[in-house]
Symmetry: C2
DNA sequence: ATAATAATGAAAATCATTATCAACTATCAT
DNA sequence: ATGATAGTTGATAATGATTTTCATTATTAT
């Protein structure tokens, strides 16, 4: 679970504040380790903090994405979805996207091999394209168990 | 360059027709090997076929994506972008996305290693999650040469 | 405390994408 | 050929996620 200190530092360092609405939204994301849309975050936040508006949710999600506290995904269902950035190496994962029912599966298998593959690739790419890599996303598209 | 026969078959097989608007849109995609948005496709198509409407462009892009003739991407700029599916193995590539200026770089380095990595991963995932993989996308996010 | 700056909620605006609908067209069985 | 059937289209309206605006409030620095 992400604790306040970490986020506080990450925000303050760039001149932002860790306000009560932002806290509440972070709590919701921490307690719902799924792939929440902005509206879902709003509804969940609304239960304990009815005063927080949808615009603030959008603003906060953008801000947290900017500073790297959360990560933004597009799984093709017409809305962005968000997830707390993995703190520990073990939590790092990627996604299987069912092209029929939309189900999203997290997987973190083969991370040893991936780490090696990505590391080599990053070295090659940053040399060849002078591109400084921050992060990556891998998506597999196909049919889930129920949809085949 | 993609020739008509291939697309014709791919469409007819599922009961769709290769009409003149669809031809025109395919031509635009073939002659502009970039990552075009729907509106860009519309504007380019409009030059030679002023009668084709934006709705038809959207419909066609969705259809071509469905049957696998083109591929849909989200690079985070708020609109979907499209690209003809690689015919030959050599054209298979992934993307570097600059998080500052939005530039997209195609890369196809390390494809040997990728092929091996993906193949192992697919075997593992389809065994563990009963997931049948059709395709994959890899994104690297960071800063391009000009933006560092 | 005071001033400067950041953040907020409510509402309106934006903008990409989709749905509607009537007219048109290819395909296929008769 | 003929007509029935199903696919396609352009124009337009509608949708829906996200952003912007703006007046107000909260936080920080001096
Ligand atoms: Mn996930
Ligand atoms: Mn590309
Ligand atoms: Zn499924
Ligand atoms: Zn750049």
């Amino acid at each position: 679970m992400r604790e306040a200190g970490w986020c506080y530092g990450k925000l303050r360092r760039k001149g932002f504040r860790l306000t009560s609405p932002r806290q509440a939204i972070l709590d919701v994301l921490a307690q719902n380790p799924r792939h929440l849309s902005a509206e879902e975050v709003f509804l969940l936040t609304h239960k304990s903090h009815p005063g927080i508006g949808l615009a603030t949710v959008y603003r906060t999600l953008n801000l947290l994405t900017q500073v790297g506290i959360i990560r933004k995904f597009d799984f093709g269902d017409g809305r962005s979805r968000y997830e707390l950035t993995a703190e520990e190496e073990e939590e790092h994962h990627h996604h299987l996207v069912c092209i029929r029912c939309g189900r999203i599966i997290n997987y973190s298998d083969f991370m040893e091999k991936e780490k090696k593959f990505i590391k080599d690739l990053e070295a090659e790419l940053s040399k060849k394209y002078q591109f400084k890599i921050n992060s990556h996303q891998i998506y597999f598209y196909g049919l889930c168990k129920e949809c085949q």
